[in-house]
């Protein structure tokens, strides 16, 4: 990704909105000591550049998906991008990365019942053409987790 120059104010805005995205432009403007127009313009630009998106994050309890698993896969090197894309389209898969190491795909899956994980990992992913081996490991305890950082793939339409 090309280097986008963000200044201190952009980062302060991102931080404020990461805590509560429904705070009014006026309130943020007052807190940061700038005009409401500046806040509006900055937010619009950050959204257009695909650097922030406003969304709801719900608890494990509310989503009824309470467990996280890492699924590592060995896929044909020449098709790894396509395969990663296909995995990303499967239900319950929240993250897919192409990696260098023992495995070339790392996926993260949120699930409720163990059967869901088996279905994704052993039935769906392993059955994809070009996938040769799959290993899963289940997170039994979360020590740190930052849902405020993501890969923004769909730019949100701005509001104005």
């Amino acid at each position: 990704m090309s280097k986008l120059q963000l200044d201190e104010l952009d980062l302060q805005l991102i931080q404020a909105l990461a805590q509560d995205a429904r705070v009014s432009n006026r309130k943020i403007a007052t807190e940061l000591g700038v005009t409401e127009g500046t806040v509006r313009g900055r937010i619009k630009r950050l959204q257009q550049d695909g650097l922030i998106a406003f969304t709801a994050i719900s608890s494990f309890e509310m989503a009824e998906k309470s467990r996280l698993a890492f699924i590592s896969a060995q896929a044909d090197v020449e098709r790894v991008r396509d395969i990663a894309q296909e995995i990303g389209e499967l239900p319950l898969i929240n993250a897919v990365m192409i990696t260098m190491g023992q495995f070339n795909i790392l996926a993260m899956c949120l699930f409720h019942e163990l059967d869901d994980l088996v279905e994704i990992a052993s039935d769906k992913i392993l059955a994809l053409p070009g996938v040769h081996h799959v290993e899963t490991s289940i997170a039994v305890k979360t020590v740190k987790y930052n849902a405020r950082m993501a890969k923004i793939t769909h730019k949100q339409a701005d509001q104005d």
Binding site: S58, K144, M149, A150, I152
Partner: protein, 185 residues
Amino acid sequence: MPCAGDLHETRNEPKQGHAPCDKDMTGRMAQNVTFDPTDHAIVEQLRLNGRATNQQIAECLGLTATTVSSRIKRLEESDQMRVVAVSDFSAHGFDFLMKLAIEVDGRPASEVAAEIAELPEVFATHLVTGRYDIDALVALRDFDDLSPLLLDKVSKIRGIRAMIPSIVVDIVKYQFDVAPIETKA
């Protein structure tokens, strides 16, 4: 059809601008909050656009803005939902991501994981089943930050027997809409 896509409203003026003074909801709600389809529908709208006004959401779902407002407040106060700005890795200048699988020896894995989680470069740490004990996700600005992190910080943590890195060369997808909800300050 998702409603949030075709809203052209100009102002985002959430009702929370000035705090309402009804004090009856200030205490934490009971742990077992129940959710009905209306709650889930509101969350769905907020997922599409977290800055949609209560009025916009209300019109989409055939509710009143007051209902939307009080439902959102209830979900937030019971720590079941947060409406947030999610920022792209690149907004923070993180161009280098890595997963570290860690094998622990001679020390409780949760202690080791807690120390790893304290490092600012680490954005996720989990105790896991399988061949390794801890999986950590690391974000760095560039490759030069790798050696200080691994050699000066992570390797100094007692109880780490081995570290197996996987370097992320492309992120196809990374977005979590479900997460542990931290209690509001």
